[in-house]
């Protein structure tokens, strides 16, 4: 698919075409382009800057403004086991659990799809593609009803498997694309030495696509970590809920007074995702890797 081979598009030199024909008018256009971009960047950063500044502000309000007194009191106020650490741990269990399940299942499924010509392989890929498009919000009410029937409501494993299943179509698609780029000749050598398909997959293919697997895992992890609606509907007891849900409960209870603490909690919860995104850009060598994967 077009997007999976992500091109570092934005790095294209700004010289090129315009450089050869540069005149005063083009220079003016360039200055204007830079100014417009800076203005857009300021508008985009303002809502996020509030979270950052308010979290260190002793008297935080809902409006962005430089604090009179810088403090870390907001952070120390929320860093209690039941308010922060347990929900963050739950979020980690949910995200790492569904990430691990998704990667294993996706690798297994991608192998035959990538290596054999199967009559129904095409239809399977079509259904997978269809699955990537299905709006998950649309199925949450029926999922709730289904979980009632299966007696899986408020079950952490049930939620993990559901989240793994919803990210599986995209993961299979990405994994298959990564696997397609591993040359089959290496496995053929392993086969002639008597290795089975699964041994070849484990000893030859997987080591060669480690970065790809890391990208898929992080992709699923980040999605699960940020997911609010699924655990909000499927997990009922506070001691099982991940940070996304407990932060919303905090907002409902104290959100209208303790803005600084809400911002501090948000920052703490968002930090791992931002870090992982930077990691993915390092691994794949392109800042737009996740979008490329999504697009593909």
């Amino acid at each position: 698919m077009a997007g999976t081979t992500t091109t570092p598009a934005v790095r294209t030199t700004s010289g090129g075409t315009a450089g050869q024909l540069a005149g005063p008018r083009i220079k003016a256009t360039k200055v204007a382009a830079n100014l417009v971009l800076l203005a857009i960047a300021v508008l985009f950063v303002l809502p996020m800057a509030w979270v950052l500044v308010a979290s260190f502000d002793a008297g935080a309000t809902l409006s962005f403004g430089l604090p009179d007194a810088v403090t870390t009191a907001n952070f120390s106020a929320i860093m209690t086991p039941e308010l922060t650490w347990l929900p963050l741990w739950n979020a980690f269990v949910l995200s790492a659990g569904s990430g691990a399940i998704t990667v294993v299942v996706a690798v297994l499924a991608a192998y035959p799809l990538s290596r054999y010509r199967m009559r129904f392989g095409k239809y399977f890929l079509y259904s997978v593609l269809f699955g990537t498009c299905l709006p998950i919000t649309a199925i949450m009410v029926p999922v709730y009803a289904l979980f009632v029937q299966l007696n899986l409501l408020d079950s952490l494993p049930g939620t993990i498997f559901f989240m793994a299943a919803t990210s599986l179509p995209m993961a299979i698609w990405m994994t298959k694309n990564f696997m397609d780029s591993v040359p089959i000749s290496l496995e053929e050598a392993a086969w002639t030495e008597g290795a089975s398909a699964m041994q070849a997959l484990r000893r030859v293919v997987l080591p060669l696509m480690r970065p790809g697997i890391a990208v898929v895992f992080i992709f699923v992890f980040v999605q699960a970590w940020g997911n609010f609606f699924v655990p909000f509907v499927l997990l009922l007891s506070p001691e099982k809920q991940p940070a996304a849900v407990s932060i919303f409960a905090f907002f409902g209870q104290y959100g209208s007074v303790a803005y600084g603490q809400l911002a501090a909690y948000s920052l703490l919860y968002a930090a791992p995702v931002l870090g992982l995104y930077v990691l993915v850009t390092r691994i794949s060598g392109s800042a737009f890797a996740l979008a490329g994967a999504v697009k593909g």
């Binding site: 360039k30 830079n34 809502p47 498009c133 800042a287």
Partner: protein
């Protein structure tokens, strides 16, 4: 016999994926169609043993003034924030990034992507604080002597549409950046030598070349925006009243606030069908990649 057993061995690794997808993706879709014909409730006997009530939920849906209103709000939300907002902003940003100097380029793209990478609930809080009557927007307006309205109450749709453009533009920007990088420079150069101005080059050279990316991106942003729940739920709760209740919010409220799971499921079924139609169009466009 040997052929069959080899065929089976090849298919076995697909089994876990098939089971998971069948149980948790296909299952809910089938259940959605079935459940929308029952009186399933949130608690009580009708939760575990719902009764078949035929088309009653759909008749109720058509008679309920909230449904057409919600459908209309969804169309407005998807059209203005995804089809127009994110796409136009995305292509504009992608174009501007190409003619910007490096520091500006990295600052702008980092900031735009950051809004997209943030967990949705944090993005929703940030947008809530920005549009709140005492928020950043009104503070800025006060700075130039304008008293801003209470955006979340007086213009809830405008607030959530702008917030969704802010949140989602990065995706379109990245797709279009990749697409623009693949436009052969000779084409635009030739047009420029023939005297075409910037707008003409965009309309007659660049856009036709990247049309495939445009249609892909339109489909994906439409599907993503169709299922936006958290942003609206945190910012306005679907209110005031039901003035910003798009279909996901309406389905959630009918099922969990008013305990009408069957009725909420009927709304969900409508969303699944809408999503499926868009998906089929999208997949048809991508067909060569699979075959």
């Amino acid at each position: 016999m040997a052929v069959t057993s080899r065929g089976v061995a090849r298919v076995v690794p697909l089994a876990p994926a098939v089971v998971l997808l069948a149980l948790f993706m296909l299952g809910p879709v089938v259940w959605s169609f079935y459940g929308s014909f029952t009186n399933a409730a949130l608690t009580g006997p009708a939760a575990l043993n719902p009764e078949w009530i035929g088309l009653d939920n759909y008749t109720a849906l058509l008679g309920d003034p909230e449904f057409p209103k919600s459908l209309w709000l969804t169309v407005v939300f998807v059209f203005l924030s995804a089809v127009v907002g994110q796409n136009v902003m995305g292509i504009l940003l992608a174009g501007l990034l190409r003619s910007a100097v490096k520091p500006v380029r990295s600052i702008a793209s980092t900031v735009v992507v950051a809004a997209w990478v943030l967990p949705e609930i944090v993005a929703a809080f940030a947008a809530y604080a920005f549009f709140h009557s005492e928020g950043t927007l009104n503070t800025m307006l006060a700075g130039i002597g304008v008293t801003g309205p209470d955006w979340l109450y007086s213009t809830p749709m405008l607030a959530v549409i702008v917030a969704n453009i802010w949140r989602g533009t990065a995706f379109s920007m990245m797709v279009y950046s990749a697409a623009l990088a693949e436009v052969p420079p000779e084409l635009t150069e030739a047009a420029q030598l023939d005297g075409a101005n910037g707008m003409q080059r965009l309309a007659w050279v660049t856009l036709p070349v990247i049309r495939r990316s445009i249609s892909t991106n339109l489909m994906l942003t439409t599907l993503q925006t169709l299922s936006v729940f958290t942003l609206i739920y945190v910012m306005t709760g679907g209110g005031p009243g039901t003035d910003s209740s798009t279909l996901p919010i309406l389905a959630y409220q009918e099922a969990f606030k008013f305990a009408q799971v069957g009725y909420g499921t009927a709304i969900a079924t409508v969303m699944i069908i809408v999503g499926a139609v868009f998906s089929v169009i999208y997949i048809r466009a991508l067909r060569p990649e699979v075959d």
